[in-house]
């Protein structure tokens, strides 16, 4: 893969030199160190006994964006990143986050082919209608470490006045031993328009052998300082894997295989994801954003309490030799599998996100941000203050601290860490 990436880079550089009428190059070099304070009472990794995580890590990365225009109707964009991630061991990566060509056969029509990042959601911390984008991380809404990569797609955009119609066909290009398409055909459609200050988008998504989803999002500015937005995405039934404990009456259960299955795949009822939010700017200086998010695909309050009881039971069984198997201890395996609830659908149904931001804290070179994410079922929260200092026109340094608050039997109180401290520096060029 690395050889092909270098070859592509060489070809791109040659094309830029030989044929490009216009070339824009920009980039960023950044480094971030992280220090982890493990939660000794973590429900998933008590005393760090199961995962043996290292308490420090570092990411050093360089990213170059190239925008090459060959003719008025043919251009190319790429985002190439190389990164070195170190914890107990080090790993280097070279990846094309984006690489696509764009054709404009008519002034109102664009065609895109390649790997591109598309974002369709209107929300700040959550993106239910972002059907073809990575699930946003509410505790890192800006993807500060630039981990998201694009999807392999063919896209057509039609622009007419204040409206746009986008049609996207996706098929994953597998770049392993042999390059081939996965044939996981997906089709996404968005119709976006503006009407009386409302910006509204209708969204549809179809996936081979899976159910379709439809939804909409909107934004509207009221007066000079208030913006409101909302999103909805719905489907009949859901293929999302659920933790099997929600279907088992007894929490004192241990599973022998990863306990996830699409329990609601045969149901016909509506499963929706809802987002409602606003942002308000005080005195032109301080920005407050709040969002409420609900996901029918995640666990409700009763299911969540049962899940937490199951985790407590598994914790109690960690020293019970009865559960020792040739593959390892069953209680430990159950705790590690349990972390899958976060990647599948999010843990519970209802969350509140609050962000307070000032670009001009005490001095023009210092900005401050406070993010709070609260689980409304168990009142646990993660609190993330960030302080950024601008050292020059294009150099910035920041310090970010994430504190996980709540009872042990709660989402954020039971996670792997009590706190995480990140110190980083970035240079844009």
């Amino acid at each position: 893969m690395k050889i092909i990436s270098y070859l592509l880079l060489f070809l791109l550089t040659a094309a830029a030199n030989l044929f490009a009428q216009h070339a824009d190059l920009s980039g960023v070099l950044f480094n971030e160190a992280a220090y982890f304070d493990f939660a000794q009472a973590s429900l998933y990794n008590p005393h760090n006994r199961l995962l043996h995580l290292y308490n420090r890590s570092n990411v050093l990365a360089a990213e170059v964006n190239a925008n090459l225009r060959f003719t008025a109707w043919f251009s190319m964009q790429s985002t190439l990143q190389t990164r070195l991630e170190s914890a107990r061991t080090s790993e280097s990566k070279l990846l094309w986050r984006e690489l696509f060509v764009k054709l404009a056969p008519a002034s109102a029509l664009d065609l895109t082919f390649g790997r591109a990042i598309l974002k369709w959601g209107a929300g700040y911390a959550y993106n239910p209608t972002g059907v073809i984008e990575p699930r946003r991380n509410p505790s890192d809404t800006s993807d500060r470490l630039r981990r998201f990569s694009g999807l392999d797609l063919a896209q057509a955009d039609f622009y007419f006045r204040a409206s746009a119609l986008t049609l996207v066909y996706l098929n994953t290009l597998q770049t392993g031993h042999r390059w081939q398409f996965a044939n996981d055909h997906r089709l996404a459609l968005r119709m976006s328009t503006r009407w009386r200050g409302f910006e509204v988008a209708l969204i549809g998504f179809w996936e081979k052998l899976r159910r379709g989803k439809i939804g909409f999002n909107f934004t509207k500015v009221l007066g000079t300082a208030l913006e409101i937005h909302g999103e909805f995405l719905g489907q009949r039934g859901t293929d999302a894997p659920q933790h099997l404990i929600v279907a088992v009456n007894a929490p004192d259960t241990l599973f022998r295989f990863p306990p996830f299955a699409p329990l609601y795949a045969r149901q016909r009822r509506l499963f929706g994801q809802y987002l409602a939010g606003f942002q308000y700017t005080f005195g032109g200086k301080i920005n407050l954003a709040m969002e409420y998010f609900h996901n029918d695909e995640s666990m409700g309050g009763k299911d969540w309490r049962r899940f937490l009881d199951y985790l407590l039971f598994a914790n109690r069984q960690l020293s019970n030799p009865r559960w020792t198997t040739p593959q390892g201890h069953l209680a430990a395996a159950n705790l590690l599998w349990a972390t899958g609830v976060f990647s599948n659908t999010g843990a519970t149904r209802d969350y509140l996100f609050v962000r307070l931001y000032s670009a001009d804290l005490a001095a023009t070179r210092i900005s401050g941000e406070l993010n709070v994410l609260e689980n409304l079922h168990d009142a646990s929260a993660v609190v993330i203050p960030t302080l950024s200092v601008y050292l020059g026109r294009e150099i910035s340094a920041y310090m970010r601290w994430s504190g996980f608050c709540g009872k042990r039997q709660s989402e954020f109180g039971g996670l792997l860490y009590r706190s995480v401290t990140n110190i980083g520096m970035a240079w844009k060029f």
Partner: protein, 243 residues
């Protein structure tokens, strides 16, 4: 009854005439900050604290008509970002997030400059004007006007506005927030002849009235005609623009 109506109309005439005159003054002063044809210009913002320059950034600004503006951050901490204004609507595009975000006119662009200070320079569209008298400002004989927000997209609730008589150059504006707070002052300092217009505003100083000692200097340069496809002003196109 007819006589009473006629008397009422006659009594109202001075007020109507004054209002029309005030609006005509604002319209003419808008011409010094807007051009008839689509154009492109460079913009430099420099922030000062206690008269010491602290930081700054440069921008590329594309303007089409009086209600479409696209601003690209070409240097500084937010390099690569875009701000788009179309009518009453505004978005910011951060390349890292790959998503246009709806914003409000009062949100800060940089230093003391709000998005609306750069993108919404068409006061005659956004505000109702009343003539409040005449004053001499730094040797310029000016009309003093009071502007009240008419459009929901207007950046400020109220503006006190001084326009030079004869030239119709704007000279000063005091901006007030919805809360009634005196927020900031703009001094329109320099007007220059450019290749395709007689006069164009090239230097504005924004003074923070809430935090004394802070100001931002906005300078415009390299103004030239430039027509770009209309899709550049469609928020859905922002992710396709060069970073």
């Amino acid at each position: 009854m007819k006589i009473i109506s006629l008397l009422f109309a006659l009594c109202s005439l001075p007020f109507i005439l004054t209002a029309q005159t005030a609006l005509a003054i604002v319209e003419k002063s808008d011409n010094a900050r807007n051009l008839a044809q689509p154009f492109k210009m460079g913009m430099r913002l420099t922030n000062f604290e206690s008269d010491q320059p602290k930081d700054g950034a440069e921008f590329e600004v594309l303007v089409s008509g009086r209600d479409k503006t696209l601003i690209k951050f070409v240097s500084g901490r937010d390099k690569g970002n875009y701000v788009l204004m179309v009518g009453d609507d505004m978005w910011i595009y951060l390349p890292n997030t790959r998503k246009p975000i709806r914003i409000t006119p009062i949100q800060r662009l940089m230093g003391e400059a709000s998005n609306g200070d750069v993108a919404r320079t068409n006061y005659s569209r956004d505000y109702d004007a009343t003539l409040r008298g005449e004053e001499t400002l730094n040797g310029h004989q000016c009309w003093k006007l009071e502007l009240q927000a008419r459009s929901s997209g207007a950046t400020y609730r109220r503006i006190e506005y001084w326009v030079e008589q004869g030239t119709y150059f704007p000279r000063r504006a005091d901006f007030y927030l919805v809360s009634g707070k005196f927020y900031k002052t703009a001094l329109f300092e320099k007007f220059e002849k450019i290749s395709f217009a007689e006069q164009f505003l090239t230097r504005t100083v924004l003074i923070d009235q809430l935090r004394p000692g802070r100001k931002t200097v906005m300078e415009y340069f390299a103004v030239q005609p430039e027509k770009v496809p209309d899709k550049y002003f469609n928020q859905n196109y922002l992710p396709n623009l060069p970073r």
